[in-house]
Structures are given as C-alpha cells and as structure tokens.
Symmetry: C3
Subunit: 346 residues, 3 copies
C-alpha cells in the first residue's frame, strides 16, 4: 500500500510542508529510513538526522524550528511520536484486516462453520463443530479442538492450542504458544500411594476483549468453566488453574500462578511471579505486589506484599527492620549484659 | 453415539424411574440441557430445575424425594455427582479410544514403526526409527524426534515436542506445548568471559503412568538420563533440569523449578513456584510448601517452607514474629532508654 | 556413517591398541553397547564391563592397566570422558550439518530468500521477505513471520515462533516452543476502568551466539528493539519483557522474569526464578541469587539475594537471625520483666 503525504496528514490531523504528493509505502527510524519511507522526529537530540534523512516524509512537532533546508516532505502535528505510533498501529491493523482466506495445507473439519473475512494460516487445525465468527484471524500452527466457539475479530497467534469445548468471545487476542483448556491438575490419592486422575470435564471461557500473552496456560474446569471475564489482560507464562475466575479488567503480570477455584475480583492488579493459593477470594480493586504469596482472602481494595503476603505498608516496615536484624540481636545481648551488671551492682 | 436410559442405568449401577427407552447422545447442565441430553442433580439448591429441565434423562440421588411431577426419565444412584462424572469420563475415554488412523497431511518417516489403533493427527511429525506402541494418541502438531520410543496407551496432546532418543512409557499423558528433551543449560566459562556449550548427550525417560501438564520443560541429561519415575504427576510450566531424578508418585505443582542433578524421592509433595537448587537430595515423602526455596538436602518425610526453606513449624513461628518486627525494635529502644535511666539513677 | 578405530583415534588424538580396522557406526554405554558401537571407560568402578562389553571399540584412559584380556579394540587418550564427549558432540554436529533441504509439506513465501545448506522441516512456515543465511536449520513446526532476518548457522528447534520483523544473528540456538517477538504487555488505563492496548511496534534482536532454552518468551519492544547481546545464554521458561536489554555473555537461569525497559549489563549471572522490576539498570558482572526480587539498580559486580534483594552477605546474616526470631522476642520480654523488677526493686 502506498500513501501520499497529503493522505497521511489527513489521517494524522497534521499540515503538509513540502511536496504533498510525496509517496511512502513503509516506516523507518529517521536515521535509517530509505526513500519511500515515513519517519518521525520527536526527540530534539535526533534533529541532525532530519537534514540528512533519506525518508520521503517525516512527521515532526508543530513547534519545530528548522535550522537548515530539509529534503523530505514534513507533516507538522501537535505530538509527532503519538501521531507516528497511531499511524503505525492503524497500518498494522489494516494489514491484519487484509489477512483473509485459507492457506494450504490447513485442516478444517467439514462440520466447522465460519464467518466472513476469516484467515486460516497454514498448518492450522480446526476440529469438529467449531464455530468461528467474522473477521477472526487464526495464524499458522494453531490447534482448535472439537466444539470450540470463537467470537468476531478474535486473533489467535501462531501455535496457540485451544482444547475442545472452550469458548472465546469477541476481540480476544491470544499470543503464541498459549494453551487454553488443558486438563486441570486433579488427582485423587489412593491407599497404595498412587494417584488416580480426576476427569476434567469442564471448559475455559474467555470473554470479550481478553488478551493473553505467550506460553501461558489456562486449565479447563473439573466441572463448569474456568472463567476470564471481559477485558482482563494476562501476560506471558501465567498459570490459571481449573475453576479459577478472573474478574473484568483485572491485570495479571508475567509468571504469576493462581491455584484452583480461587475467585479474583474486578479491576485487580497482580504483579509478576505472584502465587495465589486455591479456594480463596481476592476482592475487587485489590493490589498484589510482585513475588507475593497470597494465602488468605483479600478485601476489596486491599494492597499486599511479601510471602506470605500481608498489608503493604506494614510489610514494608517489617522488611526494613529485617535488614537490621543482626544489629537488633546484638543490642539485645548488650541489654542482657547491662541488666546482669545492674543486678550484680544492685 | 446414543444410549438408552436403561443402558446408562446399567453403566452407573442405578435404577430407572420413567421411560427406560429414553435416548441421549450428549451431556448438559440441568439448567441448560436440551432434549436428547443427560444431566444430573446432586446439589439440592438446583432441585427447582429438575421440574423444568429439557434433559431427556437425569441422574439423581437415591434419597431424592420429588415435590412435583418430572418429565425426564430419572436414574437413581447412591451418589449422583460421582455417577455422572464417571459416565462423562468413560465417554471421553471412549471417544479418545475411537480416535484412530492417520490424518493428512502428517509426516511419518519410513523407518518409524507403530502398533494398533494409533492416532496420528494432522501436522504431526514422526522422525526416524521412532517406535510407537498400541493405542497411542498423537494429536496434531506434535513433534517426535529420531529414535524416540513411546509405550502403549500414551497420549501426546497438541504441539508436544519430544526430542531425539527420549523414552516414554505406557499410559503417559503429556499436555499441549510441553517440551521433553531439550538441551540442558550447560556452558563452560572461558578465560575471555564467553561461554562454551557443553554437549547434552543424554535423554529423558518418562516411566509408565506419568502425567505432565502444559508448557512444561524437561531437559535431556548431559550424559545418561533425566528420569521421571512411574506415576509421578507434574503440573503446568514446571522446569526439570538436566540429570534430575523424580521419584515414583511424586507430585509437583505449577511453575516449580528443579535444578540440575537433584534427586527427588518417592511420594514427595511439592507446591507451586518452588525452587530447588542443584545436586541435592529430597527424601521420600518430603513436603515442600509453595514458593519455598530449597537449598539443602531434606530427610525423608521432612516438611519445609520459606526461602531459604527450613522446618515448617519453626518457619511459621518466625514468619509470625517477623510481622511484629517494628514493635520489637521499638521495645528494644525503650529498654535501652530504661536501662540508661536506671544506670543514671543508680 | 561408519568410522574405523584408526579414524577415531586420529579425531580423538589417541593411540589404537588392537584391530585398527574395527568399525563402529554408533555409541553406547560400556555395559549396554552392542557390536559396531563405540563406548568409553572413565570411572574405574565400571572397569569390569571392559572385559565383557560387546562394544567394538572402547576409549580408555592412557593410564589404564588391564587386568584381563580385552576383545574390543582400545583407544588410549589422556581423558577418556572428555574425548568421548567431544566425539559425540562432533557426531551430532555432523548429523545436524547433514540436515539439509526442504521437507514437505512446508510453507515458504515466494519472497523469502535463503542461503546454502538450509534445512526447512515439515510444517515450518516462512513468511514474506524473510531472509535466511547459510546453513540455518529450521526444524518442523517453526513459524517465522514476515520480514524476519536469520544469520548463518542458526538453529531453530521444533515449534519455535518468531514474530514479524525480528532479527536473529549467527550461531543462535533457540529451543522448542520459545516465542520471540510477541507483543509487550502494554495497556493504557482508561477513565472507565478498562484498558486500551498500546501498539507494540518494535522488534526483538538476538545477536550472534545467543542461546535461548525452551518455552521462554521474549517480547517485542513498544518502539525500537528488545536486545539480547552477543553470547548471552537464557534458560527455559524465562520472560524478557518489552524494551529490555541483556548484555553480552550474561547468563539467566530458568523461570526468571525481567520487566520492561530494564537494562542488564555484561557478564551478569542471574539465578533461577529471579524477578527484576522495570526501568532499572543491573551493572556489569553483577550476581543475583536464585529467587531474588530486584527492585533497585545494582552497581557493577554487586552480589545480592532475597526479596526484596540486597547485599548478599548482609542478607544471609539477616536470614540467619530471622530463624531465631521467636527466641529473640522471648528474650526481649524477659528483659522487660527484669527491668520492671529492677525499677520496682529500686
């Protein structure tokens, strides 16, 4: 796709300075860009490159005062960085939108149905009775098990695996390698010390606007559904166990693990590498600091840190003292000696 | 597959109440089930749905006393939940059992051999000299490297990767995305600050009845075998380093990591997000609490918590005091002042 | 491939004792090896097997004194274990070197270019404008997005996913299931409590000689590049967030996570399950103990442990006292009583 400076100015809400017909078909950094590319200048320390860049069009701040002549066509906007970012984002969305049709070889069961403008990448596998909405993008090497439902505009990146009977809403994004719906970790101990697998018969539901990072794992429920409510955002390498419920617009950073049947409220912020035990309740709006170990239910809005986690402010105070423990122990010994001396003296 | 109420009652060891010829071909929750589906009622709080459900057959507790007329055929059993779970589990096992044959395209090297009733999903890759037993189910997008051996009834879920020369026993289950046999993390520091890769020449052995969750990693031994003994159960996102040995019927929760050459005994229980250093020995029946950091060998039956981990009961006591550290420090200061006053007074 | 004892002796810098024409085509442990295999004896406790082994050729230490007659041809070298390891390593490298050509079905876009001796495994996907160097080995089920560049001799193991526009140098090794270039975790909070995705427009650069383990995740930069400099070694299940920079020859053990925009220096050693917050700087040669939580920048050469992490030696001292906290608290209570008694007595 090729765009003229005039078109870009219109998209970015800016003003052209130079040749409005200058055409670009790609993006570059100002110091590396080639003819036919669009660049931007936001940070004054890169200004020197403006006078030597090969870029055909450069987005600059409204306020920029030129110190030399410039070959490139300029587009002046209030905030060059934001304007450039927005354009690049629109461009990637357009490219994704254009992804459509089925690459071969791919495997789509006869009984699967799909909407308009769906993309099925090569080596993707779509099982029996799968229902796929409009404008869904299924990248190469994705696996979708039998009886899965996927809503409009959802994007499954390369190698995502969705086990049978799971349900994904609209506008969901799942990154590469993530597994949705594998068996929960349930084993009944037997008298002889062995374990018997408890069948995991439920599924996973990801509601609308959920995003899940790469190589995360969300296990299917033993019975019923492991639920991730609308708008929740989950990072890479996160573990969500069976029968967990994650509230709307809750954010979970990388490498956190949430044990079975725990209910996390709405708008909760969970840092990286947090562990949460099973069968507890985390209140709406709670904040859990990175690497915390949460072993008890938390009230709405509660902030905690530490392992085991407790009140954030108190925990920080205790952590500060814990660094002075050797001195504290020494002082106590001195006090013992002083008292012994006082007693002897008395 | 369609089953009559009479057949289901026989499978479940129950008694039909109503039309014994009522037929079902699927499962549903009592509040959502359609005609032709089987549901169950275990929890009394859902009893109202029994009188309105569309399900054709409902499994109920022996002891249930009806308050109204019921359209569905009932099957009375001692424990409705267990009976339903067992039926669903049998049904899924039957469905898996019926998976057989080779989907195309798949890649099977000429020199690979396989038993009866094997399923090879589309986009699966089977390397040279691979030996596959009877009734093995290899889902789509699985990779099996050269010279791998896989025992009867083993199930490899979508996208599992097994490197060359690894050995998997019978009745093993590996969930999606897990990697068996990647190189151990071995690098010899060089005089110039760089690292030289130490060749990882061994393999991984998973004995019979081992289950491994999704996106876990088990590295091949430097020489010899990384061993997971019979019946061990490993959750999602677990890291098992090179030359580790995991004892029979040991259970390892999600996101735990075990460093190189450590030997874990039999029947050990390891919580989530535990870290265990290399080259130590964890005794049979030890219990390691979630998020512990184990830096020393543990005796048989030992229970530990904390990072660094030590005796469970002592550690809990210290954790309790650590929350009172600011008060403790304040008291010591007061004592110092009191003694100074006493001295001055004396 | 078959090798004579004479050839092996030459490769290993050793001396043949017995039939120099004895031929081997594989490797075995001395106690299990078959005719036509090469074994080694390094540990004296296995010496008995030397006299009964079926191996055709055995590598032994220069210094070994035979106690009985030996059927196998011996090759005497200064260090039998090292010599055997080196030979096995050379053999695996030769086998990998021989992997070449394109297995079908695979997907290679018309606009992709590649050097000599490239291997493309079945079900691998190579996008638009991908540039692949000489002798690159791309195993089955790998995904390489549009506009990716891959240098000579790089190995991508099964199922690796490389998103669009990432750059991999020469001699890079990436293990199975690892994801390079997924979106960074960036969401702008909105007034209504929802989150808006921040477009992740940058890429990931892995320089020459980098090795990354299995199922790790390295996110693309928001703008610019997430950088892993030459010779860095990264283990399994590691999370590298957007815009992070990892210095040359830094080593990162399994399950560690590094948050956005943090810069890690050269030659840093990071243990397993470490968490590092965003936007800080870790100095060259720093050492971070396993399970540490690093919340502040570290000077060059600094060693830390704990969560939150601080000076290694001080932290160990505090940890030691923390185990005696219950006794310390008890002592302080006794001192309070003693002082009260003194006061009363005075």
């Amino acid at each position: 796709m090729t765009f003229s400076a005039a078109t870009i100015a219109q998209l970015a809400g800016g003003r052209v300075e130079g040749n409005a017909q200058a055409a670009v078909s790609g993006f570059g950094k100002i110091e590396e860009a080639q003819a036919g590319q669009l660049a931007f200048l936001a940070n004054p320390k890169y200004e020197e490159y403006l006078y030597t860049t090969q870029a055909s069009v450069v987005i600059v701040n409204e306020s920029l005062e030129l110190k030399q002549a410039v070959q490139a066509t300029l587009i002046r906007v209030p905030d060059a960085y934001s304007a450039f970012a927005a354009l690049l984002s629109q461009y990637e969305a357009m490219q994704r939108q254009m992804l459509s049709g089925r690459e071969e070889p791919s495997f789509v069961h006869d009984t699967a149905t799909m909407g308009n403008d769906v993309y099925i990448g090569a080596f993707a596998y779509i099982g029996k009775n799968v229902r796929i909405g409009n404008n869904v993008k299924i990248y190469p090497q994705v696996f979708i098990g039998d009886d899965v439902t996927i809503g409009d505009n959802t994007v499954l990146n390369p190698g995502v695996k969705v086990y049978h009977r799971c349900v994904l809403g609209k506008n969901v994004i799942v990154h590469a390698g993530t597994v949705i719906g594998s068996d929960g970790f349930g084993f009944a101990p037997q008298a002889d010390g062995t374990f018997k697998k408890v069948p995991q018969m439920g599924n996973v539901v990801l509601e609308d606007d959920v995003e899940v990072g790469s190589n995360s794992t969300i296990d299917r429920a033993t019975i019923g559904s492991t639920m991730v409510h609308a708008g929740a955002k989950i990072d890479n390498l996160v573990q969500i166990a069976h029968n967990v419920e994650i509230g709307s617009h809750t954010v979970i950073a990388a490498q956190t693990g949430i044990s079975g049947s725990t209910k996390v409220g709405k708008g909760v912020m969970i840092g990286g590498q947090v562990g949460i035990v099973g069968h507890i309740k985390i209140g709406d709006g709670a904040k859990i600091n990175a690497q915390s170990g949460v072993s008890k239910s938390l009230d709405n809005g509660k902030a905690v840190t530490g392992s085991p986690a407790y009140d954030y402010t108190s925990a920080l105070r205790s952590q500060a003292v814990s660094r002075r423990l050797p001195e504290l122990e020494k002082k106590v010994k001195e006090l013992e000696a002083a008292i012994a001396a006082l007693k002897a003296g008395g």
